[in-house]
Assembly symmetry: C2
């Protein structure tokens, strides 16, 4: 039996980069970029007018001039028209390219207009303090050729917008992870069946599938009876066709728990079996040589849940985004807890964001590892280390979060 | 001009519940339940065996007996077989229904088996301390008829599993919000076009669309030129067909900024225009009587971003999940900041989860409201109140987060 820390290390040691695929930018939200994107032009690509008002030459202002004849009006999107008379001005809109012959913009708020002999005149009330006012200069943010998005970044809204700016109609991204969710257990019936008194409906597979979808993976559910022949035929195609298998049930000491042996027989090397933790101890983990990894989680619903968020999700994240450094959120225990067994304890907690920027974890009644409904009022598990028995309020511990 | 707080209040005052639709549970991850789900049976539905081992009558243990003849073996999923001889036992697996005549389970770890005259005998090494050991009793967690999932909960993995348990093949959920993303601005060209020197590619619409998808809404992009005739024809079908319109650009003081007037002309009542904030001041918000709301965001990319996460996303969340109380995450300013204008300042920050359970916000260089690339290294904005000029390190402020 190994520690939770060692189990996590061994799980993450099997992380491999995913092959890439090219998809449309409009389908790429949340995906991970595989080839870097560079600035195809300067940012901004021209001296960009930053306020609605008039463009003029600052030299004319320093010469003491306050009235400027409007030579022309230039909207955003129009080719810039040079200023003919250096003592005149061009009325101009945000987003336009600064006209040649001008270097400064005075905003509407600082101007009063009047008409004189059929000409429109801008009277500057508040002269600009320096040349270049209200102009966002070409290349001020980025230069042509600059790296904008390195490989390995997740394409959130800001990244999507930057990719659009450089004309990335398609992007190369890591393909989605493909995970087979396998449920076993002869006591389980399908959702649409009425269970006999000694049966229950299948739920773990749906939970795991929903967690996988939330993590950005593709997930397909398979169910097998607790029959060695059925599994011996059913598992090899899944091992060949998916990046990972997540099984629930069939890994403890019972007579129907022949999965570890069967998996070894099918060429899946055991990496560990059983972890010093509660709940979720009988977790089995293995890998086919150079192939799919197998997370065989204990079948009790809360155990399945704990192990998914402690082991499977970090593995998925690292496969999708190997460049992302490890991050371990912490939360502050809000009430003292005693847990005597020398096992890492996954304590169900409800989270509270305090007005002081602290994340508080309130311990919740745990109804045993079968009581899934007890998790409805929880947001995650606080991971209390095995080597201690008492845990004081106010101390911070690693947080395994399943609800944002 | 109104305050950020007043603007948020007026935006949220337009929240209306969404109509519901019935969808398959497998398509419901992340959706909001509209009709409550009750326990169709007790949880657990039978006295459920919680460990692999033997089931026996505790009375036989108290009588001093330690050796138990195994009458039968019962796997999970098999109908329970009554114990014939009250001084014998049934070998039994986790998940099975406790056989009539037994009340206690002794786990394998506490038994040594031997054979005697062709019969299998379990020798109990560690007698159970009380009746009911290792049995998860019928109705211990929930009783038939108990409310499990109230209307208004978001269906995450735990909720999906509970819904599966009660056989909810389909669920009634709030239908997805339908949002039209409208970009205007004659300086903008499509992604696949090569911009002329004074043009730039469209990016705000893609950013807003990605943000909407991440928030669980349906989003469709429309582009119109800055032409009153085009907009007068183009906007009414969108007002009729969508729950909300998000426009970017065309709402400041420029000559091409005729959107507020045009929207009023089309029956969209102005609720406010301009908010005491930087960036993002020229935000216009309105609603068609009993119909679509219109978020007309300023066109500078960072302004669009700030206003989306400050106003549009909370509105979406409240429409999807009106029962969810308001929650305002806070973060701790990690370095002092001075901001003199009497405007609410949205300070770009990078977040750090400290080892002590604190959320720290590191101010980032803001490249002006046009510099989208400056947001690539940020996770959100700290909302610094208008009435102060200096903000000390260590103080907590409301956080508008755009990256998890």
């Amino acid at each position: 039996m190994i520690s939770v820390e060692e189990a996590s290390r061994r799980v993450l040691a099997t992380v491999r980069p995913l092959p890439s695929e090219t998809i449309r930018l409009t389908a790429a939200t949340g995906r991970v970029l595989q080839t870097p994107l560079y600035a195809d032009r300067d940012f901004p690509p021209f001296h960009r007018v930053a306020m609605d008002g008039i463009a003029l030459s600052f030299a004319a202002v320093t010469s003491g001039r306050t009235d400027f004849v409007i030579e022309a009006t230039q909207l955003a999107g129009a080719p810039p028209r040079p200023l003919q008379n250096p003592r005149a001005a061009i009325e101009i809109m945000t987003g336009a390219a600064l006209p040649p012959g001008t270097d400064t913009v005075v905003r509407y708020e600082d101007i009063v207009f009047h008409e004189e002999a059929g000409r429109r005149i801008a009277g500057v009330q508040v002269p600009p303090a320096a040349a270049g006012h209200n102009v966002h200069h070409q290349a001020a943010d980025r230069q042509q050729g600059d790296l904008l998005l390195p490989a390995g970044v997740r394409l959130g809204p800001a990244e999507i917008a930057v990719a659009a700016t450089v004309g990335a109609v398609t992007v190369q991204v890591a393909r989605a992870l493909r995970v087979a969710v396998v449920s076993t257990g002869d006591e389980l019936v399908e959702l649409d069946q009425l269970p006999l008194p000694h049966q229950i409906r299948r739920s773990n597979a749906y939970m795991v599938r929903a967690s996988l979808l939330e993590a950005g993976a593709e997930a397909e559910i398979f169910h097998f009876n607790d029959d060695q022949q059925v599994l011996r035929r059913g598992l090899p195609p899944l091992l060949a066709g998916f990046d990972a298998l997540v099984l629930s049930g069939g890994v403890s000491k019972g007579q129907a728990d022949f999965l570890p042996g069967m998996l070894r027989e099918l060429g899946v090397e055991q990496i560990f079996h059983e972890v010093q933790q509660r709940p979720g101890k009988p977790f089995w983990f293995g890998q086919q040589a150079g192939g799919a990894v197998v997370f065989a989680l204990p079948g009790n619903p809360v155990s399945t849940f704990v192990n998914f968020y402690q082991y499977v999700r970090p593995w998925l994240r690292q496969c999708q985004q190997p460049a992302a450094g490890p991050s371990q959120p912490m939360a502050i225990l809000a009430a003292p807890v005693v847990f005597k067994p020398s096992l890492t304890h996954f304590l169900p907690v409800r989270l509270e964001a305090s007005p002081y920027g602290h994340l508080l974890a309130h311990p919740q009644r745990a109804g045993g590892s079968g009581d899934l409904a007890s998790l409805l009022h929880c947001d995650g598990f606080l991971r209390l280390p095995a080597e201690r028995e008492t845990f004081g309020a106010g101390d911070a511990f690693p947080l395994v979060r399943f609800r944002e």
